[in-house]
Amino acid sequence: MRYSAYSIFKEALSGNRMWKPAWREPQPKPHYDVIIVGGGGHGLATAYYLAKEFGITNVAVLEKGYLGSGNVGRNTTIIRSNYLLEGNNPFYEFSLKLWEGLERDFNYNAMVSQRGMLNLFHSDGQRDQYARKGNGMRLHGVDAELLDREQVRRKAPYLNFDHARFPIMGALYQKRAGTVRHDAVAWGYGRGADARGVDLIQHCEVTGIRRESGLVVGVETTKGFIGCNKLALAAAGNTTTVGRMADLELPIESHVLQAFVSEGLKPVVDHVITYGAGHFYISQSDKGGLVFGAEIDFYSSYAQRGNLATVEHTMEEGVSLIPGLSRAKVLRSWGGVMDMSMDGSPIIDRTPIDNLYLNCGWCYGGFKATPASGFCFAHLIAKNETHHVTRFMRLDRFERGYTIDEAGRGPQPNLH
């Protein structure tokens, strides 16, 4: 059914008792054209675009938990395309353009809010670096503005401008950046895929990948064997675990990233703000909670919870940037397992096995990439050729010496 003002009115007349579930709960068929492992944002978006853009509807998405139970429901909901490198920028800009038309496209309210993002800088060197990044963005046709201190003050007067060690000198501003209601992204894509015939199979864990004469023929799961012509992995933090079933050797390390939300407050933070002197970022949800986070915990982890030392560090950064934050109470904190790649950039590519496709390495930047990742991965699976905006995101780029090291930190996954 199509959601509209009329449907809300009509359902209200019957006391909202007639709403139907947004997707079916099918049993797995014996065989599919494409199986996608991972029912998170990227897996569901891939299924949606496979069906909608490329006409492949005999597809199953296998999810070991419930839909959207991984990082798509655990992030800080930020979307942006302020990347410098050729290998990244056109991809993330493609993603931002898809976000801009997404709700109309999949007929679901994802609360896309382009409220603008301020990347603060605190030194001359950092200003030069941000000016360079902004120029790089504009050369790609992406909006970017360099704001001085007073322009930032008009937008966000509550910041600590005169910090003794890290005074705020200005910001790189991307007006089209913003936030999205993350759960609704998973639900919207899931519903859209389901309506086009894709089977979303929850609580179905992949336990093995069956191969014959060098090709994947299907997967062993907790619901039995399911055959497929093509297998696509979008397993995020568990990529290595699933990849090992097909003997893939990957440039991935899993790390835990924490995020936090405060009690609901009246509107105060109108933008997304990042602290140039730390890794702190903050925005305010429509419910009023301040949503914020900082670095990963630095050690390898598969636990979806983090360390108190990182909690303390995050709070210190937050209060250093916004002194008023010290009066707010933290309501919840949580952790997600990140597939940290060795250069900080993702992989959307074929693998040494011809009908096995790989989507991983999103580090902690995967949410904003969801639409483009799904679109480009679907393109790769359907046509067996790389979409032009992901042509640098290859699995063999490390061997060839073509890493996409946006942060310039070398092969040190916990620093990206």
Partner: protein, 93 residues
């Protein structure tokens, strides 16, 4: 939760004193090794779930590189050994 690390030289210290280098399993190949060996050493990771050895640098203490063996699912710490000692013990086998 790996909040306290017992350094063999300095005793039990908070995690914040340490900087984490990463997986201890990859062994540095010889300078003349083939590109493939260097690629595996620099970029490819086993990334196991469970028991795991990692290099931790005691930056705010003895400044020694340590190998911390822990479980990356439960965050339980099993043991901390000086990396050089571990290397020597390995060479003596």
């Amino acid at each position: 939760m790996a909040s306290l690390i017992t350094c063999p030289h300095c005793g039990t210290r908070p995690k914040e004193e340490f900087s984490i280098r990463g997986a201890a399993a990859p062994k540095r190949p010889s300078p003349t090794a083939k590109d493939e060996a260097w690629h595996r050493y620099v970029y490819v990771r086993d990334n196991p779930k469970g028991r795991y050895q990692e290099y931790w640098h005691h930056v705010a203490g003895c400044r020694r590189f340590l190998v911390v063996e822990r479980d990356n699912l439960t965050h339980e710490v099993f043991g901390v050994t000086d990396a050089a000692e571990l290397e020597r013990a390995g060479a003596g086998e």
